[in-house]
Amino acid sequence: MELSPVAVYSECDRAALHVRHADEAYLIGPSAPRESYLRIDRILEAAERSGADAVHPGYGFLAENEAFAAAVEQAGLTFIGPTSKAIALMGSKTAARAAAVRAGVPVVPGTESPLGADVPDAEIARLADTIGYPLLVKAVAGGGGKGMRTVTDRADLAGAVRAARSEAGAAFGDAAVYLERRLTRPRHVEVQLLADHHGTVLPFVERECSIQRRHQKVVEESPSLAVTPANRQAMTSAAADVARGVGYTNAGTIEFLLDEDGRFYFLEMNTRLQVEHPITEMVTGVDLVQWQIRIARGERLTLDPARLLTPVGHAIECRIYAEDPDNGFLPSPGRILALRVPAGPGIRDDSGAAAGLDVPIDYDPMLSKLIAWAESRPAAVARMRRALGEYVVGGIRTTVPFFAWLLEQPDFLAARFHTTSLDEILKSRNGRPFVEPSKDDEDVAAVAAALQAVLSPSRGGLSTADAVGAWKAQARAEGLR
């Protein structure tokens, strides 16, 4: 596209890959997000100074913030995403539900309007009785599992509402909640959309995102083994209808819950690109980010609708986090001392990690997204397992061993799971390590450690300082190459 990318960054991200790979880069403040990545004024200053024409909001921080989109529009720049109006409308969970109802799309039974702090407990209890238990208390402005509580017993309702409100108030600045029936063993299936400014809305083959830990997706795949061709037809048309009904433009995703009988319900809309978009790109061959830019420029969608609904092969994504899976997924910030990344046919690593980088404590600890594509699901699983075995990150803990374990589980291989299966399995494991190394691997580790000590006789093994020094020396050597 011959565009020149401009990056903005916070103090702790000076050496981050997005800064290193951009043509221009502007510091917008200290590490704390509210002083940098959430500062609309500073981002617009950087845009002005660079003479940028358009702003892509990514998929974190301000990506679903209508005030940001509006500020970009008012500054005379192009926002690569939906209009601020569409973000505002679909960002309210209750307004989005109403939009789905208007489009004739089923929604999970629940309250129709937000329950602000002024709604008395007795009224909430009455509404809960009409919906039925078990139910979910959810933040109107919510996302990522924050401000969400499951209630199975009437007695726990008031406490759950209080907790959800306090969490939602802290996370989103909006304490309003709503109630929704909790379906038993539902799957989370979502439909990617592209919509241009000329009235064309195109849905893509679904993504299966049921493998979640505490309401956060950890593995996604496309297509879903639980979706029949008839269901695909119905869900993708329903998704397009919701988007058309609100005049939606650019990329967006409609999330559905799919129950055991194949009935689906509108859950919410994400008014941005999603973390898991690469799997859709892998099975359709469409570059979604490029299309976001082309749509923002006013181009017409020229993609063949049938092709977008006909997946070629199967794709799986694992979200690799700087977390210690053997220690309750405790965050593991620190310096990445060594990094070896798998490659080869069908393997894609969308990564922010590099040797020598510090994983900051200030942000979400996602390091990379590892994606495997192959002609069938079993082949994609096999390819992913091979790639995980080759993924080496030294200095910090990662969730790679957890994925190596997960991709061997019979229920995963048979695609038998729903949105809370993983939490149930993790609970029953009681903290046992995910991968037990073989005796052979342990012996090789002992041999390697001893030889490392012999070959570096001044040290009895490596200290952190030595390793950092060695990394710097290597980086310098590579720079000279």
């Binding site: 080496v392 390590p433 041999v447 390697a448 070959l455």
Partner: protein
């Protein structure tokens, strides 16, 4: 050289002899002929054989990096890094000193920089193994830090709301 090495908490005796360009390495009762090439500062390429003329020669690329949390070396061979530490280093023929691992007071340290969100015990409290002691907030999440063994909390070095660095001692627990 003779090393006492702890592999994922299990102790092994490792003996290394250099023979020309390669090494003879034994780990407890198993031994290999090993040829090692340094790939970069943290990576070795190893070729291992049992020493028999016709036997297979295994090739392994191994990365050794200190772990930010423990400072111990983690060795990547397969999907899960293997924790390796030297509990003693001595010339062949000398006796290993008795290790003190597993005794003495337990120091609960911060695995990451963060803010102390909650302190769940008081000085003097008796605590069980795996009982949560402190909740530390980092990376937008609250994490419980637990006692690794049962004992009595003798010191608490932090208060709620305090910011701490990685490695800071938060509490000391004496085995009961």
């Amino acid at each position: 050289m003779h090393y006492e090495v702890e592999i994922d908490g299990r102790r092994s005796q490792v003996v290394v002899h250099r023979t020309g360009d390669s090494f003879h390495v034994s780990v407890d009762d198993r031994s290999w002929r090993v040829e090692a090439v340094r790939v970069d500062a943290l990576t070795l390429s190893l070729r291992l054989s049992t020493g028999q003329e016709s036997g297979p020669i295994v090739s392994r690329e191994v990365t050794l990096a200190p772990d930010g949390m423990t400072g111990q070396t983690r060795v990547s061979v397969g999907a899960r890094p293997i924790q390796v530490s030297f509990s003693g280093r001595r010339r062949s023929g000398q006796q290993a000193s008795a290790s003190a691992a597993g005794s003495g007071p337990q120091r609960l340290t911060a695995p990451m920089p963060g803010k102390i969100a909650k302190i769940l015990v008081k000085a003097g409290d008796l605590v069980a193994a795996r009982q949560p002691i402190v909740v530390i907030e980092a990376m937008k999440m609250e994490n419980e830090l637990r006692a690794s063994r049962a004992g009595q909390v003798t010191d608490l070095h932090v208060r709620e709301g305090q910011l701490v660095d990685a490695g800071a001692v938060l509490a000391v627990i004496h085995a009961g």
